[in-house]
């Protein structure tokens, strides 16, 4: 069984498309789920799946079969998502989506008004992409810092710093709007 998996990874490394398809089928759910967590948008996650697996195939010769394929794929997908957040994501796009999502939530804390949530979402959308992605994964999605660090290609300490900076910038932005969180 292990030999079979290792054989698929080796064949992928040498550019075998059948092995690549096998790996795609095996890991698509995990990579898609990860992208969905980052983008919070099914269409974007699908678009990024295609982009990520294209990048994965392009980098096949650099893959080390001794390492986990899923971890490597997740890292490439995170990089693709980061590029997408930087290039395509506009503030208005995020705000509209987030507002619709917030409005749909029924179990929200009544002490936090819809207006505060709307402004928080908008302020979050204004954060630099690399801080937003770290805060999304570590705080909102509550993914282990170690996994976030591996996906972003940084240390656990750097993840903590990015999350801290994201929260601090968010608070400063809200305070500027007269909201004391």
């Amino acid at each position: 069984m292990q030999n079979e998996a290792s054989d698929v990874l080796n064949r992928f490394r040498h550019g075998d498309v059948d092995a690549f398809e096998e790996l795609f089928r095996q890991h698509q759910r995990a990579v898609y789920g990860w992208l969905l967590r980052i983008t919070r948008n099914a269409a974007a996650a699908e678009e990024l799946m295609v982009e990520s697996f294209w990048r994965i195939h392009r980098a096949h010769a650099r893959f080390d079969p001794a390492r986990s394929f899923e971890g490597w794929a997740r890292r490439i997908a995170t990089r693709a998502a980061l590029d997408w957040l930087r290039a395509k994501r506009t503030l208005s796009e995020l705000s509209l989506e987030v507002c619709a999502e917030v409005a749909a939530r029924v179990e929200a804390d009544p002490a936090v008004t819809a207006e505060i949530r709307r402004k928080t979402a908008q302020a979050f959308g204004r954060l630099p992409a690399k801080l937003r992605i770290a805060a999304t994964l570590a705080v909102i999605e509550e993914q282990p810092h170690k996994e976030v660090a591996a996906a972003l290609g940084i240390s656990v300490a750097a993840v903590k710093v990015r999350v801290f900076r994201a929260l601090r910038l968010l608070r400063t932005d809200l305070e500027r709007q007269g909201i004391t969180p």
Partner: protein, 84 residues
Amino acid sequence: MKTHDEERMKKLLRQTLPPVKGDAGPGRDLWPEVLRRLDTSTGASVSPGWAWLNGAWFDGALLAGLVGLGAIFPAAIPVFLYYL
């Protein structure tokens, strides 16, 4: 920012943007699109003679620029690391 402020901000963020259930797979089979993308990129790839222009030289120039900047303005290194 103090620890309790940090926790309050985290709570506010989770209330604003609830976690996504990331355990569902894509709604359709994306493999045909991946294959199409591979075919397109193979057809449109740069010729081997110009392949070195495809990013590697720029990475090198950027690195050389940063090293040069660090050598001329050492005080800028912590600032750069902060924004990295």
